[in-house]
Symmetry: C2
Subunit: 710 residues, 2 copies
């Protein structure tokens, strides 16, 4: 229980009650300065009439009972009672309703009737992943039809609360609409901030102020209905992780020696595959096989047990049945091995969280940290480390990348890797984090902050246990100027069910994830391919200083689609100044389009310098912040010439230049290789190039960016 | 002007007025049976008071003036006038308002005040592409914030009108909400149907009934405010096309002889490229070059003019400067050539509609039909016809396809072709329709109905002139069981501007396009790649009988994403019956997931039959309508074995089987080739496989499908 708990709350918890009565909630909220109607709790008819007379008519009567949570549903709320007679009659009715339902009697709340033009919802809840969150939204029918609300991790300042209100689709209803004056936005924002504070200071499970009434042109925001459900504290988990996490991750990603526990000659077995890929891809450090079945596997010396290893290696790769993993981890720790990867499946993701807990207990006891279980492994191509059984390793990983890729799904993680490599895009680090029983996503992100190999981080997230910890790590990356791109799976109920069984981690509510990632400064993308599309854009191009986009294409059709998609993502495609237009006209055929979007037409075939020259003009044009180019069937060798020209112009340009290129890659291999060398990202379709630009612009906003470049 | 025009309309048009007064609109609508409030037009204060007394209080007063279109904005509508005194005062005020604005006096409309619980908008407008359309939506703040409306081409039956109401997000407000009874939905649907009829029978430019008032539990739907703007008839266009369109398209797509007008040895020129590709790809018919500069180009005989051709070829390919195209078309027609492709640009798309009109006039006069201008050409790989200058033709087109691809953008059209070929997917016909000055999209669709080569049609549309004509052709295709997939570019204002300049065709309003395509039975997709993804699914797999999806993957992460995307698209991922679950459990490892989604885990490496066997179980499971499989890094040779297994099970299966496969294609070439041979479509990411399934389900709905299979 939190220190500051109000006596009312302490009493309720002591009595074993989670839900406070409305009168109790009112008392607690009053102590925090929440404006509420004048009101009195009446136990008898006479009390009610007296209270109403004091408050002044009209009044509202509300039936109170710990057995009735939703008063309106049983007719327990009566508005607009205009005189003492009505109050008396209604009081009796409410008493009958309670009696008919055998509901415990909590009296009748007599409330002054507060006028209001707009109904607002202000609330908070304790999220199992992120802790206290606060919500502001429009009430009534708009809440039901629009789901119009803004969410943040609590607490928030009044400024952020204001920003939340501005995010609402129905903000116009608050800010003045059809000539009506605004409501008291300052009071409303202050209320949201207060509620967010309450959610942090008190053991709040759920707090709903619905409706809060506000009036056009009048001061104040009054919470006329209040529901407060308390939260019990959770049981304590396993002992906290020991210090030295960053060093453990460092060794995991760049070990000088490796032991494969459960190594095998059989490459269809996981232990065999891990050993095979490790040696095949030329890991330069010492490697040992731990297996009772051989004295050596090919050129790798084998020992029968971890204890028999000739030295405490940096990294243990554990690929043995689940029931013996805890013992192996303990043996590794006792041997002095600092970190392990547990490849084995069959833990929380298969419905056995107890077995996973045993792993953690064993590792803590023996002082070893670990990745997994249920991990596909770890890659660091720069160190020629391939400690993984991913099928992607049939190909050779590319070195020299600057994107660190952390994936909760091993299989999807590896399969996207193979695609990137085929396209000539390197990944500097890959970690399949598995079930995150010990080392979790936050630990990897944190360890990679300030690592030049992780200029950009790409995260495939299904869920985490401690959302605030992840946010702190993401915030550090943001502050260090390292964009983190996140794809979060498990958006809907059915998706969440699948995630739950997969890694044994509860997936959090989607709106909370969006709010948390945004507050922490991470770029969220909507699908899996966008994770890499955005990461490459962020690694290779500067973010745009503004939202004005210049478009060049060899196809009028592509111009239309690009302009369309830009607009949908809130970019502008402004007219070019007359002088600039003239310069473009001098470059392109008369039947092209010299305004923005610029259509250089299919005549590019005979005049390959057109694209390069047009790009130059847009690079110099101060009213343009970002440049999109759309190529269609430009095949080699012409493609190579054109790519060289674009790279020459775009290199060092402070504006982002992104290319859409729709062609069979086999027809333009050389041209595409030139763009990759020149760090110009290119995309499969008009839609995707605009999505990548949107990620760049989002990063610009998140890093608090004014002008472009970096 | 339409035959049935009301005398009020005839008078307005005769007086040169487009906008009717509200009283005039009321008269016209009454004649069509639209329920309206009792009301009277009062010219004097005394008249107004008398009228109010007759109608009964409270009343509404509305200022009428041909100079004031939006009464509310000037304070010209006053509600709730309770007695004669108020009516008199307000009448004087309204007269002052008119006087202050020097607005012509049209009297004051005195109206009974109609009670209403929900405000509805019913309207119609004349769309420049599709003609009369009808709209139903919720009024007031919901219209502003939600844009909550449903659109159809007019006329509609009351049944379809009902369907429109059910489409509204706020339908609950009409159908009964929080225990409130429903409004008179039958009256509302009848009103929508009536308005749609009015829009067809009268020269309506725009008709707004806003609001129409309805009451919970009460009969009727009353149009209390009415605005009717008339439409003048348009000038007549060029003479109608001659008959024989289907035959012209047939010759275009399968000519026995071709002349290239403007042929050249220089392959960087369009005429040179067309001739080059035509001969290089082995066109088996006779080919002639028309050029004054040579007696032959390689093996192709040349003549100096069209007139000098030794025979009237089937198809003329015209690639000469725009100013001589009309003369060339005329010469071709006079020679007896039935159809031409005009490759040349510089017509309506470059701002010269007059030059394009001349082409049409010349062609009509000489009896020749044509594709273009501004066309990239036509392909028919089965006939080895490559009459195009697309860069895609650097590669060899694949024959034996069943998707006919009609594209308004030539460049994007060609570039997607090259991608499909690289993936091993054939296209049976490709037409770059260009500016559609003569032959238009509707003509091509119409000509391909019942053509077995066009089992599926894929349309990239920017805009058309005659939307109803396109709808008729689409409807014929639907009735013939040929799915047509449409990607429509130009959704937003800026996109539309680019389209306008590109093909000189106005892009229609997006909501009308959606409504029209749906009514005509075409499957609309949201982006360019989906055009082919959906077409391949429709060509190779049956549509699902229902919305229950079974999911199998080697990756728990992929299971989560797929289930998620299924849900987002309105599919169910139901639990499997216990007996079926037992069968799955016997196939997969104990740490896999035997419920839906099924996770067979990475153990697939050692037990490649798992996927095939699990697929068999789902094929036999009656509670599953469609099956999605997600493969990750399955590389050859294992991929080939697994693909063969899936094809063996899926062939002949009445349920659709779609595969997501995330891997570098170079690692699984053989496996992918096997899936293509076996007609199992596969997709790049979890998101895309679900989109393809959604297209199949949409086709099932559009063809009025009950049970699956075909």
């Amino acid at each position: 229980m939190t220190r500051h708990a109000h006596p009312v709350i302490e009493r309720a918890l002591a009595e074993g009650r989670d839900a406070l009565s409305e009168a109790e909630a009112a008392t607690v909220l009053s102590a925090h300065g929440v404006a509420q109607p004048r009101e009195a709790l009446a136990d008898t008819r006479a009390d009610a009439v007296l209270a109403a007379r004091r408050l002044g008519f009209p009044v509202v009567l509300k039936l109170c009972s710990p057995d009735i949570l939703h008063k309106s549903d049983v007719g327990g709320v009566r508005l607009g009672l205009g005189d003492e007679l009505q109050v008396g009659i209604v009081f009796d009715e409410l008493r009958s309703i309670a009696a008919a339902r055998a509901a415990r009697w909590g009296g009748v709340l007599v409330q002054e009737q507060v006028p209001g033009d707009v109904e607002v919802i202000v609330g908070a809840r304790h999220d199992s992943v992120f802790g206290p969150v606060v919500l502001a939204g429009l009430g009534g029918i708009l809440a039901e039809l629009l789901g119009d609300s803004a969410v943040r991790l609590a607490p928030v300042s009044p400024d952020v609360a204001h920003e939340m209100l501005r995010e609402l689709r129905g903000y116009r209803l608050l800010a003045g609409y059809r000539g009506r004056p605004a409501v008291d936005l300052a009071a409303l924002a202050a209320l949201v901030a207060t509620v967010s504070r309450v959610a942090c200071d008190l053991p709040v499970g759920e707090l709903d102020l619905n409706p809060v009434l506000v009036r056009a042109g009048a001061p104040g925001a009054i919470a006329v209905d209040r529901r407060l459900v308390l939260r019990r504290t959770e049981p304590v988990g396993p002992a906290a992780a020991p210090p030295g996490t960053r060093e453990a991750v460092r060794r995991l990603l760049a070990p000088s020696s490796v032991a494969v526990v459960g190594a095998s000659r059989d490459a269809s077995k996981i232990g065999g595959r891990v050993l095979h890929f490790l040696t095949q891809h030329g890991f330069p450090g010492r490697v040992f096989a731990v297996t009772p079945n051989a004295a050596a596997i090919d050129a790798v010396p084998a020992v029968p047990s971890v204890a028999a290893l000739p030295e405490p290696v940096d990294l243990a790769c554990i690929a043995i049945p689940p029931e013996v993993c805890a013992a192996a981890l303990r043996a590794c720790g006792e041997k002095g091995i600092p970190v392990a990867i547990v490849f084995t499946s069959g833990f929380a993701e298969a419905g056995d969280p107890e077995a996973e807990r045993e792993l953690v207990v064993a590792a803590r006891a023996a002082g070893i940290r670990f990745c997994g279980p249920n991990s596909l492994g770890v890659l660091n191509p720069d160190a020629r480390l391939c400690a993984s059984f991913s099928g992607a390793l049939v190909a050779t990983p590319l070195g020299g990348g600057e994107i660190a890729y952390l994936s909760q799904s091993g299989a999807l993680g590896g399969s996207f890797l193979s695609r990137l490599w085929e396209r000539g895009i390197a990944v500097s680090r890959f970690v399949s984090v598995g079930n995150q029983a010990d080392l979790d996503l936050a630990d990897y992100v944190d360890a990679l902050v300030d690592d030049p190999a992780a200029r950009v981080m790409a995260l495939f997230v299904e869920g985490v246990r401690d959302g605030r910890k992840l946010c702190r790590a993401l915030g550090r990356a943001r502050d260090a100027g390292q964009p983190v791109v996140v794809y979060k799976a498990g958006r809907t109920v059915e998706g969440q069910a699948a995630v739950r069984s997969h890694t044994g981690v509860l997936a959090g509510d989607d709106a909370v994830w969006s709010a948390a990632l945004r507050q922490a400064g991470a770029v969220r993308v909507g699908d899996m391919p966008a994770l890499f599309e955005a990461s490459v854009a962020l690694a290779w191009q500067p973010p745009p200083a503004g939202r004005r986009v210049g478009i060049v294409s060899t196809s009028g059709g592509a111009c239309g689609i690009l302009a369309d998609e830009c607009r949908r993502h809130g970019f502008e495609v402004p007219e070019l100044p007359a002088a600039t237009r003239k310069r473009v006209e001098a470059e392109i055929p008369s039947f092209g389009a010299a305004r923005n979007p610029i259509d250089v037409t299919a005549q590019i075939l005979g005049r390959p310098a057109m694209l390069r020259n047009t790009l130059s003009i847009l690079v110099e044009e101060p009213t343009i912040d970002a440049i999109l180019m759309m190529l269609t069937t430009l095949a080699d060798p012409l493609a190579e010439v054109i790519a060289d020209g674009l790279v020459a112009v775009a290199t060092g340009c402070p504006k982002p230049v992104l290319v859409g290129w729709i062609i069979a890659p086999s027809l333009a291999r050389k041209g595409m290789a030139r763009l990759i060398e020149g760090r110009i990202p290119f995309y499969d379709s008009p839609d995707r190039v605009v999505l990548a630009l949107a990620a760049l612009a989002e990063w610009q906003r998140l890093r608090g960016g004014g002008s472009g470049g970096r």
